[in-house]
Subunit: 369 residues, 2 copies
Amino acid sequence: MVVFEITILGANGGPTEYGTQCFILKPARTEDPELIAVDGGAGMYQLREMLVQGRNENEGDDELVPSFYEHDREPIEFFIDSKLNIQKGLSKSLLQSLKRQGEHFESANTMKKTYEVFQGITDYYITHPHLDHISGLVVNSPSIYEQENSKKKTIWGLPHTIDVLQKHVFNDLIWPDLTAERSRKLKLKCLNPKEVQKCTIFPWDVIPFKVHHGIGVKTGAPVYSTFYIFRDRKSKDCIIVCGDVEQDRRESEESLLEEFWSYVAENIPLVHLKGILVECSCPLSSKPEQLYGHLSPIYLINELSNLNTLYNSSKGLSGLNVIVTHVKSTPAKRDPRLTILEELRFLAEERNLGDLRISIALEGHTLFL
Amino acid sequence: MVVFEITILGANGGPTEYGTQCFILKPARTEDPELIAVDGGAGMYQLREMLVQGRNENEGDDELVPSFYEHDREPIEFFIDSKLNIQKGLSKSLLQSLKRQGEHFESANTMKKTYEVFQGITDYYITHPHLDHISGLVVNSPSIYEQENSKKKTIWGLPHTIDVLQKHVFNDLIWPDLTAERSRKLKLKCLNPKEVQKCTIFPWDVIPFKVHHGIGVKTGAPVYSTFYIFRDRKSKDCIIVCGDVEQDRRESEESLLEEFWSYVAENIPLVHLKGILVECSCPLSSKPEQLYGHLSPIYLINELSNLNTLYNSSKGLSGLNVIVTHVKSTPAKRDPRLTILEELRFLAEERNLGDLRISIALEGHTLFL
């Protein structure tokens, strides 16, 4: 049964500036057009694109997706596992709930529709404050003051994220400090690591875990990111949505990923783990010093192998959806997403991880897990 | 004679997140594919879009541009003065110079082409550090470390910009401090206000002026932005490229715009002033407290009237191109760019400003001034 609807607003790992990481999530079959976002690299602009595409383009098996390497567009099958439940555009249940909420929705112009969909995002869960994970939400933020909007937005994150957003973004220098507006329509709120927190709008638990993401160029200080577990309290089904990450640093005393996988294996029966959205920024050919706090296929497969060992199932991780985000563009001949996908599939087979379903997160598409 | 080629990578005033302010400039008829940028709200992604469009779409009089209000697309004539010299996509002279530079350019894939065009941008002149004016350049910045790239980038700005970029963006928290990399491929450099500085790659003078842009929500401190004059030393022709701006604040002792227009009228004969790219974020109906440090048509026309008075020409400002940027999207019925353009033309006529040529800055287009 489908429990989670995940719309990919952005999964681009840079250095192109648009459509960087942002996923919007909702329970399947809800009546209300409410949404949460994980990261805010994209937003209203991408929603508008999806609303327009929904009207003008045919859906079908022969869909082509933007690539810009061997060809400007490539068949969608190149990027996804054949068993992945995926649809172009916003989910039908979201569009239906918007129509139910107000008769005017269908007759409204595209920009008004965009505002309405966007207002439904009431909670952001941010993995880390790097610009490509927050730029969309920041630039979108003044839209909450439009007269017709009564909804508020809360930005959640571990202290390493929220403190930086307050001090270095909503600081009246990089952006107006909208958290200081009297209306209190925008709030920043800290989560505690490893603590089960109730999602304010869905019957879900949210559990954040701190992970490593490189060190500062000048400061040498560790940079942290976040893995989120979202658990549907009724079905007990879970998804894991990750920010940028690297393997546990040898020189650090913190075994953050090790702890995370132990928590997962101990608390989430494999049959309830519906998917992992995780970065794999760089191809296998990248040297360790070129990773800058990211994963390449060998490191991602190492992590999945660790999880596999902990689950110790006879079928490996068979049936688990791994959705790869944040692949970096390069001036290569072949789309690095295709290179990385091929490498991951090869390594997963070599390591006997079972029938893993590995796909690329495609912008402008909705996944059903 | 055309002296300046200005490509609009972004002119969006938010709250949609993509294509925010970035203009790339070059002298007409140059041999080298070098470029400067004013602001960095957009970048590589938009360049890639323009390279793709150049191949696939017909040019012609019946061009439609994205709007998303009354219709998703509207005729280009709605947005521009009929005498404006404008072309869709990158300029032919830029594309020619890229082809001349390397035989491989034409046979390269779209992503490689994008890197090559983008590497040509060696100098950014930033008006102020608000996120919508810098997000593209920041996310694009790691591309300078690609092996095949030998070029460096310098980010210029008045101290109020450069200090904030160093402290709050390239700080190993919001973004890796790439200015601390040993290769020194990315540099931040301060300009002095009102000082004539030689552009490092073109035979142009660059003269920055500090202007007001509202006050902090929490701090109440004045926020500053920048107007840049670019002067071709040979022809003496000039253009003015502005960041966000508001009228001089009554409670402030600084008459920054008054000083600026005096400088312009005293130093640039009207016949040499080829154009002004200036914001007009909000329509006439906006109340002063809704402007948040921006201009509406009445305030922009007030400023142009002040300039007109200083020039004291019998023909008013006839022939001057005013290119309007940074219009904010709203959930309105009509495209606010069209509303603002109509209001500006009406007010300009009412004030007898002469045959002003007012147009909207259209993303993905090149202007020849």
